[in-house]
């Protein structure tokens, strides 16, 4: 690599040295921690949501639970995290400190009120503290009071009202953070736009219940005998996050910049969010798994990709996937294909045979002496599940068949 590409992006008029941000969560709890993240290379931070001191926040203990898939740790993360449990003043001081010490990094203060006045007060306080922009938390899944957290995000009128309230008291860019716990994110996003939001960030955590204790029947995390439906994050939710970002990016009426998050661990995940329409990308669960250092790999990976693809600016990549996004009914089903096997590399495990027999087109025969599968081309459904279980990467690939090729019909019994 000869030259390091420019990873900077402009989001809501603010320049970011790179698109990678800490999202509002335990990873952005204090200036001391965030400073270490900036040192590691993060371009900006969504500061852990601040609230007024009216209701003291005490966190349940324990507050998180990992969802492991086999030996893979943290395929998902369940949490009952609340907003900041620090006082408003210490947080404002930290925000001011960060802005002074790290002028080239973007500090977005996340706020959440429980009533109009609180939204206004918090917005003013954070503006005065020097925050670059505000993220309006309409999406925390753990708020029990009506008119707060994701209950706001699910009620378009509240989204519009509170956004408008904040709009009235500050000139800072406003980013409305959305909950995925709804059918269509474009509706609350449009409401936020009507209220004066400059951008949308998504997704907050997906409401979920990842595990239940088999001895005590308590959903996890087990908070002294009680569980809850709570926020689920991590790699498992990336497809959901990408979906919502893409749907908003494809909505020409919305036409707002997007900050994407949900399951980002690698530069590939981040790039996918960018291709789906995000300008900045936020991370928490990845940091819970790997620490702030992960941003180094995101920067290096994205840089090398851009050099290889001759991309000069990240902005060229934003929303690149949207023109290729269609309704499933629009597919050209005249074109068909089958799987093909590079048998020289087969190790003879027979998993392809098993899954094709039980979940595919029953298109494989098994030579038990040689321990090798044999494909009946005309029965292959091209579902490709054989390739999903094959332990040899690239052994099974997809091949398009000629236009006159016909697949055999499924056998009917009786």
């Amino acid at each position: 690599m000869t030259k390091k590409p420019d990873l900077s992006v402009t989001f809501c008029g603010k320049k970011f040295v790179n698109p990678f941000m800490l999202s509002s969560s335990p990873v952005s709890n204090s200036a001391k921690m965030i400073e270490r993240a900036f040192e590691a290379g993060w371009g900006g931070v969504a500061y852990k949501t601040v609230v007024t001191d009216r209701v003291p926040i005490i966190h349940p203990s324990p507050r998180m639970h990992p969802y492991n898939y086999g030996a893979q740790r943290l395929a998902g993360l369940q949490n009952v995290e609340q907003t900041t449990d620090r006082g408003l003043q210490p947080n404002l001081k930290d925000i001011a400190y960060l802005k002074k010490k790290w002028p080239d990094r973007v500090v977005m203060a996340s706020i959440m009120g429980f009533a109009n006045q609180e939204w206004a007060d918090l917005a003013k306080a954070c503006t005065d503290a020097g925050a670059d922009m505000l993220e309006l938390n309409f999406s925390c899944p753990h708020m029990t009071v009506e008119g707060s957290g994701c209950k706001v995000g699910q009620a378009d009128d509240l989204v519009e009202k509170f956004t408008a309230t904040v709009r009235n008291v500050t000139k800072l860019p406003l980013v409305a953070k959305m909950t995925p716990n709804l059918a269509d994110m474009n509706e609350p996003a449009m409401a936020a736009k009507r209220g004066g939001a400059d951008a949308i960030s998504a997704i907050n955590t997906v409401k979920g219940m990842s595990e239940i204790g088999l001895d005590d029947f308590v959903p996890k995390p087990n908070v002294f005998g009680k569980g809850a439906i709570s926020g689920y994050s991590g790699p498992a939710i990336k497809p959901i996050g990408l979906r919502f970002i893409a749907e908003m990016a494809a909505n020409k009426k919305l036409n707002l910049p997007l900050s994407g998050m949900g399951g980002v661990e690698t530069w590939v995940d981040a790039l996918e969010y960018i291709l789906a329409g995000a300008t900045t990308v936020q991370v928490t669960t990845g940091i819970i798994h790997y620490g702030y250092r992960m941003v180094g790999d995101m920067i290096e990976g994205l840089s090398d990709y851009m050099v290889q693809k001759n991309v000069k600016h990240v902005s060229e990549l934003v929303g690149k996937a949207i023109p290729y996004l269609h309704e499933t009914g629009e597919f050209d089903v005249k074109r068909q294909g089958i799987s093909q096997y590079d048998m020289d590399r087969c190790v003879g495990c027979g998993q392809c045979y098993l899954v094709c027999r039980d979940a595919g087109g029953e298109a494989l025969e098994w030579d038990s002496k040689k321990r090798r599968p044999k494909l009946n081309d005309d029965k292959c459904l091209s579902c490709m599940i054989c390739s999903f279980v094959c332990p040899v990467s690239g052994l099974i690939t997809y091949k398009e068949m000629p236009a006159d090729w016909k697949r055999k019909e499924t056998v009917t019994l009786g």
Binding site: A71, V347, Q351
Partner: protein
């Protein structure tokens, strides 16, 4: 760690997370080749899949129902040339560590208190006597008990296990591990007569007076010697007495009091272990752990011809043993008090192939030299005890004293008398003894249910299977 602790300490097995990670490497083969490679009929394809699908109890059941010595086989089995040799993952990088996963599942059962075997309901069936509580006897007893037979095991030593307790060093299989592995036998209601050696002419045949069938599994405990007429030399041991002496756990053990004698002979001394099999490696490693100054493994052939497993050879060398290959020990030198002070060796080179297909060591003329050593342990193979023969005079044996029994059923030439394990095979793998016990149990059940009246063996096993060098187990 003290020398004794080092002798007792087994390598740690997998924890749950490591086991899950290793199981994730399994290709979950259709018609799994590993499952066809176990002499004892273990089905790793099934138990690893069960582990993958979080069916740990089912995985444990798969192992335990098949093999009463699942834990012991998990630690002792040379899996790299059995199940793991067939593993399809080898085509990707390396085999799944099947034996270690088996050990994990059995240890997990102990940890969680999960028991598999139950005493069968229904009226007790015929009485069967099992002679010997080694791997073959124990697996036969367990299998018969599971089928509802009343089984009595006659065992000369005070505790069960045979070679598992007295023939392998504790760092490979210690008493605590073995005792846990054997605990489920009690659940099955097997009756043990310990410290009950059979004695007298025809003692085995006499068991038929009040038992309907007998299974002979007394192993092969007579050490082969370099020099058949060896005079007593202080510091010279056979592998049988050396290894047994180290199993000092209980005061009641067969060789009680011998530990200090063996330890004294080894500590700070130069020791020579003669032989190239697994037992030789066990002796060499034991001597090193006991505090020997230097341990030489003397072997008359080349490294690749050593019958020991590669990982055992590596372990011995890593722990400090010096391999002196292509050297044939010919005699011992003792001082005037009868203490060993050296071993006369002749260098060899490899000549043409011998009947085993290996190149034969040929002594090089005038190449004799002397290795100074104060201790020597001969580990060149075992044969049946000379005294065993008179216990069953009516049963046919071969020239080497091995009982003639058919491979498929363990039937001997005596009606109602079956045999298996090392007394039939000569020194061989534990897992094959387990297999013999199981197949004989099935044959005994068939015989007692008169499904198969014909009892006399139809096919004689091959010639004497030990060559004087084999020291496998």
């Amino acid at each position: 760690m003290s020398h004794t602790e080092e002798l007792e300490k087994m390598e740690p097995g997998f924890g749950l997370d490591e086991a899950v990670a290793e199981a994730q490497r399994c290709l979950l083969c259709h018609d799994a080749p590993c499952s066809k490679a176990c002499p004892a009929g273990t089905d790793p394809g099934a138990f690893i899949r069960k582990l993958r699908l979080r069916n740990l109890t089912g995985a444990i059941r798969t192992i335990r129902e098949n093999n009463i010595l699942g834990g012991s086989c998990g630690v002792l089995c040379p899996a790299s040339r059995l199940c793991e040799k067939e593993c399809s993952a080898t085509g990707i990088d390396r085999p799944v560590r099947i034996a270690k996963l088996q050990r994990f599942l059995i240890e997990h059962a102990w940890k969680t208190g999960f028991k598999v075997l139950e005493k069968p309901a229904g009226p007790a069936k015929d009485k069967v006597a099992v002679v010997g509580a080694g791997p073959a006897g124990l697996s036969c007893a367990a299998e018969l008990a599971r089928r509802g037979y009343r089984v009595t095991v006659f065992e000369a030593p005070p505790e069960p296990g045979g070679v598992l307790r007295y023939g392998v060093p504790a760092f490979r299989l210690n008493a605590e591990f073995l005792n846990k592995d054997l605990a489920e036998l009690e659940t099955l209601g097997v009756d043990f007569k310990f410290s009950a050696p059979l004695e007298g002419l025809g003692a085995v045949e006499r068991l038929l007076d009040d038992h309907k069938a007998v299974f002979i599994a007394i192993g092969a405990w007579k050490p082969l010697r370099l020099n058949a007429h060896q005079k007593e030399i202080k510091g010279l041991f056979t592998s049988v007495e050396f290894l047994a002496a180290l199993r000092q756990g209980s005061e009641e053990t067969l060789f009680a009091g011998k530990f200090s004698e063996a330890a004294k002979a080894v500590r700070g001394k130069t020791c020579a272990v003669i032989g190239g099999g697994s037992v030789a490696m066990d002796c060499a490693r034991s001597a090193l752990k006991l505090g020997a100054k230097d341990v030489y493994v003397l072997y008359r052939r080349s490294y690749s011809q050593m019958p020991a497993e590669e990982d055992e050879k590596q372990a011995a060398m890593n722990e400090g043993a010096h391999f002196l290959l292509l050297n044939q020990p010919v005699d011992y030198i003792a001082d005037k008090d009868g203490h060993l002070k050296g071993i006369k060796l002749v260098r060899t080179q490899l000549g043409g192939k011998d009947p085993s297909g290996r190149r034969k060591p040929v002594e090089i003329r005038e190449s004799g030299w002397t290795l100074e050593a104060q201790c020597a342990i001969e580990a060149i193979g075992n044969a049946p005890d000379d005294k065993a023969r008179k216990l069953y005079p009516s049963i046919a044996v071969n020239k080497g004293g091995l009982i003639l029994a058919d491979e498929k059923h363990g039937r001997t030439t005596g009606r109602g008398v079956f045999a298996g394990g090392d007394i039939v095979r000569g020194p061989d793998l534990v897992v094959r003894a387990v297999r013999d016990g199981k197949t004989a149990a099935a044959a005994i059940a068939d015989y007692l249910e008169k499904k198969r009246v014909k009892q006399i063996i139809t096919r004689k096993p091959g010639t004497v299977p030990f060559t004087g060098e084999q020291s496998e187990r």
